[in-house]
Amino acid sequence: MKKLIVLSIVSLLISGAFAQETGKKLPQVSVKTLKGTTINTAELSNDGKPIILSFWALWCKPCINELTTIGDVYPDWVEETGVKLIAVSIDDARSSSKVAPTVSGKGWEYDILLDVNGDFKRAMNVNMIPHTFLINGDGEIVWQHTSFSEGSELELIEMVRKLNRGEAIK
C-alpha cells in the first residue's frame, strides 16, 4: 500500500517535471502577521513590482546581519526600484513574541510574517537560513540564494534592477 502511494507521488513528480513551462508561483500556506491576523502566502503582492522574500530567525546571526545590512539601504532601494522586502521569521513559540520588539528596536521597515511551525519554509524548500527569494511582478519565483556574506546584498539589488529592466535572470 505504502509503495503504491509513494509510486503515485513519484509519477506525479515525473509528469510535473515535464510539464514545467512557466515560473513557479508562491505556495498557498497560512502564516501570521505581527497583528495576529492570518494570511495566505499565495496572495502576497506588491502591486506588480518585485518582492524579496527572506527567511530568517532571531537565533540566526547571518540572517540578522543580512537584514541589518539591507536595512541601512532599504529606503533607497524602495525609492529606486519599488521593491518590497518581506522578512519571514521561522522563530517558533519560544521567540516569536520577540520578533516585533526586535524588528522595531532595530528600525527595520520590512513587512514581517511569522511562520511559527515552518509550514511556509517547508513549502518553499528552505533547508538553511538565511534563504532569500526574488519574486517578479507576476508572483513568480525567479531567483533564490542561501547564506549571506557582506556584499551579497549588492547582487540581490542588481537582480531586482535587472527584473525591472525586463532582463532575463539566471
Binding site: 505504502k2 507521488i9 510535473g16 520577540k98 520588539p101 526586535t102 528596536g105 556584499g151
Partner: protein, 560 residues
C-alpha cells in the same frame, strides 16, 4: 489478498507511466510544478582520545535527505527520501537505514483544506499539540493520518486531525486526536469598521489513546493506567497598534508516565506574552508556569521523541559558540519562568547614535522550580502511583534552574566598519538541566566582540573574539574566529576554542577548525576539518547533544 495488492501496484504503475502523460496532454494536470531540496552531511572521523572522540568503526558516516514537492493549483503532493548510512555521531542509531518516511497528498478550496499521509501542525503556541521537524537535529514527530482544516466563514478556522507519530522508521503506539478552533472577533462582527483593536480567541482539545499495559511501581503495586488522556487549551490575543498581549492556558488530565515517574496529578501550563513596538523601540515581557506537562504518545518514552506538545522555553537563544554552551530547555515536570527584553535604536545621525544609529538590546530571564507540597494522605513528594504533590499556582520554587542577563550593542561606524559587543551573565543549573547530580550551579560571565571590515563591495573580514570566565564546570574558555568572505560565493574560516582555564591541566584542549564554502544561488557546498567539542547543539528551539568529534565534514545543500 497479497496477489490483489501486487496486481494493484502493477496496474497503478501501468497507469502512471503509460496513461498519465495522455491525461496530462488533455489538460488534467496542466501547469503542475515540481520543486524540491536536498541535503547531505558526511563526516570522516578520526579517533582523538584526548578530547574524548571515539573510534568510529565505519570511518565515515552520512545523513542525507531529499524533499520533492508537486503542486498544481489547489492540489499538492510530496515525499521525502531519507538515508542514514550510517547515522552521524550524535544522531540516534535507530535512524540507521533508508526509506520514504514522509509523503502526503493535499487539496484545498476556499473553505476546506484536506491532507492525508504525513503532516505537521501546531495548535496555539504548541503547548497541547505541535508536530514539527528539525532535520539538522534529527527531530521529527510528524503525524501519519489525516487532517482537515475548515473555514466556514472568514472569522473562523477549525482544524481536526488524527494520527500516530513518527518514531524513527516506525510509529509510536499512541493514537492522537485533536481539534482546534480560532475565532477572529473583529471579522465576525464588524470587519468593515477596521477597528484598531483586534481580538482573537482560540481553543484546542487533544486526546491520546494508548492501550493499558502492566507497569509495576514501588516493587509491588500494579498501576491502573488511563487509556485515554485528554488535554485542552484556551487562548486569546489582543492587538492594538504596536501593543500585543497573548495568553494561553493548558490543562491535561492524569497521565502517569516514565517522564513524571508515574504520578496521577493533572498537568497545567500558563503562558502570557506581552509586547510593545514602536519605531526605534521594542519592549517584551513574558511569564510562564509549567507543571507536569510532558505529553507523549508513548507513556514509557523518556527521550526527545513522540512529543505531542511543545513547551517553549522563555529564555534567549544565543547564537555565539560560548554563549550557547549552556542552553536552557523547558523542564516539563515543572518550572516558573519570566523574561523581559528591551530593544532600542539610538537614532541615526544623533550625537551618541552616530551616522547609522546604534542598536541596543537588553534581555533578562529567570527560571526556577515550582513550589511542591506533600499531597493529602501521602508521605512524600512525587511517589509513583499517587497524586504526586500539590503546588500553589503562583508560587516560585526555591531552586534556580537558569538565569541570564545579556546586553548587546551593535554599531556601524562607516561604510567599512561595524562592531557588535555583548556581555552575558548566566547561571545554569547543570545538575537539573544536564542531569549531573551534585555538580554546583555554573555562574559564567561571557564577553563577545564581533567586528566586520569591508574592503570593498565583495571582500570582507570578520573577526570574532569570545571569552567565558567561570569557576565551575570546565573553567574558562576563549574562542577566536576569523572569516574572510568574497561575496556572494566564497567563505574561508578559521577558529579555535581553547579551554585554558580547566582545573585539570591535561584537559586544557584546543578545538581548532578550518572551513571553507562555496555558494551558487541556492546550492551550497561547505567543507570543514577540525575538532568539535562535546556539547549541546541547538537549532531553532530544539537541542541535541553532540559527542566530541574530530575529522572532516562535508555539507551539501540544494533547493530548486
Amino acid at each position: 489478498m497479497r496477489h490483489i495488492q501486487q496486481g494493484a501496484i502493477v496496474f497503478f504503475m501501468f497507469f502512471c507511466f503509460i496513461y498519465l502523460p495522455e491525461v496530462q496532454a488533455q489538460g488534467f494536470l496542466d501547469g503542475g510544478k515540481v520543486s524540491g531540496n536536498f541535503q547531505l552531511d558526511a563526516q570522516i572521523y578520526q579517533a582523538d582520545s584526548a578530547i574524548g572522540a571515539n573510534e568510529v568503526a565505519e570511518k565515515m558516516l552520512m545523513n542525507s535527505f531529499a524533499n520533492l514537492l508537486y503542486t498544481q493549483g489547489n492540489f499538492s503532493a510530496g515525499l521525502r527520501f531519507e538515508t542514514y548510512l550510517n547515522p552521524l555521531q550524535g544522531y540516534d542509531p535507530l535512524y540507521k537505514g533508508s526509506g520514504v518516511p514522509y509523503w502526503f497528498g493535499a487539496w484545498r478550496n476556499e473553505q476546506f483544506e484536506i491532507t492525508v499521509g504525513h503532516f505537521y501542525e501546531q495548535f496555539g503556541s504548541g503547548m497541547v499539540l505541535r508536530a514539527y521537524e528539525e532535520r539538522n537535529l534529527g527531530f521529527d514527530n510528524a503525524f501519519e493520518g489525516a487532517k482537515v482544516v475548515f473555514k466556514p466563514i472568514d472569522a473562523i478556522t477549525l482544524k481536526g486531525l488524527i494520527g500516530k507519530q513518527r518514531y524513527f522508521w516506525e510509529k509510536g503506539p499512541g493514537l492522537v486526536r485533536g481539534i482546534d478552533g480560532d475565532l477572529s472577533i473583529n471579522d465576525l462582527f464588524k470587519p468593515e469598521l477596521n477597528l484598531k483593536t483586534r481580538l482573537t480567541l482560540g481553543g484546542s482539545f487533544v486526546s491520546k489513546y494508548e492501550s493499558a499495559e502492566d507497569i509495576i511501581v514501588n516493587d509491588t503495586s500494579l498501576l491502573h493506567l488511563p487509556e485515554n488522556v485528554s488535554s485542552w487549551a484556551a487562548r486569546a490575543n489582543i492587538n492594538r497598534g504596536g501593543f500585543n498581549i497573548y495568553g494561553e492556558y493548558t490543562r491535561k488530565i492524569n497521565d502517569p508516565s516514565s517522564f513524571n515517574k508515574f504520578i496521577y496529578k493533572d498537568g497545567e501550563s500558563l503562558l502570557v506574552q506581552t509586547s510593545y513596538a514602536t519605531k526605534g523601540l521594542g519592549v517584551m515581557a513574558s511569564a510562564k508556569r509549567t507543571d507536569n506537562m510532558s505529553f507523549k504518545s508513548k507513556r514509557t518514552e523518556t527521550g526527545s521523541t513522540l512529543d505531542i506538545n511543545y513547551l517553549p522555553a522563555l529564555t534567549r537563544q544565543h547564537a555565539y559558540s560560548l554563549s550557547a554552551m549552556y542552553p536552557y530547555a523547558t523542564q516539563p515536570n515543572g518550572e516558573m519562568a519570566i523574561q523581559g527584553q528591551v530593544n532600542y535604536k539610538i537614532p541615526r545621525g544623533s550625537k551618541i547614535g552616530g551616522k547609522y544609529g546604534t542598536d541596543i538590546a537588553v534581555n533578562f530571564s529567570r527560571v526556577t522550580s515550582i513550589e511542591k507540597e506533600v499531597a493529602e494522605g501521602e508521605s512524600a513528594i512525587g511517589v509513583s502511583g499517587t497524586k504526586g504533590y500539590t503546588s500553589q499556582f503562583f508560587a516560585f520554587g526555591d531552586e534556580l534552574y537558569f538565569q541570564d542577563l545579556n546586553i548587546e550593542v551593535q554599531r556601524k561606524f562607516n561604510q567599512k566598519y561595524k562592531v557588535l559587543l555583548s556581555y552575558i551573565f548566566m547561571k545554569y543549573n547543570i545538575d537539573v538541566i544536564e542531569n549531573h547530580p551534585g555538580e554546583p550551579l555554573v555562574e559564567a560571565h561571557i564577553l563577545i566582540a564581533d567586528m566586520t571590515y569591508r574592503y570593498d563591495s565583495k571582500n570582507a573580514l570578520k573577526l570574532e573574539l569570545q571569552h567565558m570566565s567561570t569557576k565551575q564546570d570546565k573553567g574558562n574558555w576563549v574562542q577566536y574566529m576569523m572569516e574572510y568572505t568574497i561575496a556572494p560565493r566564497w567563505f574561508f574560516n578559521f577558529s579555535d576554542q581553547y579551554n585554558y582555564g580547566n582545573d585539570n591541566k591535561e584537559d586544557r584542549f584546543h578545538y581548532p577548525t578550518i572551513a571553507m564554502g562555496y555558494t551558487q544561488g541556492s546550492n551550497r557546498l561547505s567543507v570543514s576539518y577540525g575538532k568539535q567539542r562535546k556539547g549541546i547543539l541547538c537549532v531553532g528551539g530544539v537541542c541535541r547533544t553532540v559527542p566530541a568529534a574530530s575529522g572532516l565534514t562535508v555539507t551539501i545543500t540544494s533547493s530548486f
